[in-house]
Amino acid sequence: MLGYIDKIREISKRLLDEGRVDMVIGFRKGTMPMMNEPSFVKNPGEVSKLVWDSNCGINLANYLTDRKEKIGVIAKGCDSRNIVTHILENKIKRDKLVIIGVPCKGMIDRRRITAMFDAEVREVNEEGDTITVKGPGFEKKLKKSDLLQENCSTCIHRNPVLYDELAAPLVEEQKDIERYAEVRRIEAMSPQEKWQYFEDLIAPCIRCYACRNACPLCYCPTCFVDESRPQWVGKSQDETDIRTFHFLRAYHCAGRCTDCGACERACPVGIKVRQFTGKLNKDCLEMFGWEAGVLPDERPPLDTFKPGDPGDFIK
């Protein structure tokens, strides 16, 4: 995916030069390996800052909410689906955007890499499908396909669904992927086992809200956890409050989540936050045939009624 960089810079420079956009939102190298950070490029001379590799997992749709200027935004498959969701929810206007689509072959999970080595990982380079990891006294070549983020390994929307420019030819979508194996495993548990499973899952949570902040769906001016009049959720570390936060946050994403994995990537204690949203995504697909952000002109299942909607739960 490294080859995309030149094209991304070329398109960004052209858009800025022609005045079609006021800024381009993309990625620049982070100060740590595997931690590329969002970059807002407003000057054509600065496009050389922009990079692209397998560490661009942050969802850039998160930076578009309620923006008024003309923006060029770099969008992977999942980012583009969140842009569609933003447009549907009136958080950004389509005509304010120039979407630079980037067909994506998955982002690497930095936790998998750091867990492999005892010493600190100081440098990570990629070439094609080979990732070279360097640190004090070691250098190892790894296969990218073994290091993908979980959501990327089961992704079936690698190509952007909506774009004005493309940074590279479209890639082949993954087929015959079992996307919900983990959800099915949890569904098969008894209520007590499920309860315990989620208790253990959220046990390390420190309520930093990084998952919420990284999520493009969480744009409420005052989040329910921050509201104090009325106070919906206690602000303590009590497990009831932690639980309420996670369950409610997931439900706020129902029918909207694109499984971009930004929440899980942002979690400083490594909670698999996608375990919550995964079930809701699966239900939306099975009950309403809906995947968020794929259709730019159809209302999401939770704000529309169709005669065929499943109603068996109503007695």
């Binding site: 209520p191 499920k194 309860w195 499973y197 206690g234 009590d238 409050d241 109503i314 007695k315």
Partner: protein, 49 residues
């Protein structure tokens, strides 16, 4: 998420269906009582902030 089946129920009852309302309420109360108290979402009084 680990809420027992039966603890949550949904019904569609018209304002004209008073007898159905009574039946549903009786039914739901009986099912929930049989399940016993739900302590899962309960916070101890001294921890309420």
């Amino acid at each position: 998420m680990g809420v027992e089946p039966g603890r949550l129920s949904f019904s569609w009852i018209s304002s004209a269906e008073s007898t159905k309302f009574v039946d549903v309420v009786k039914d739901v109360t009986a099912t929930v009582k049989a399940l016993g108290p739900n302590n899962n979402f309960k916070k101890a009084a001294d921890k309420v902030a």
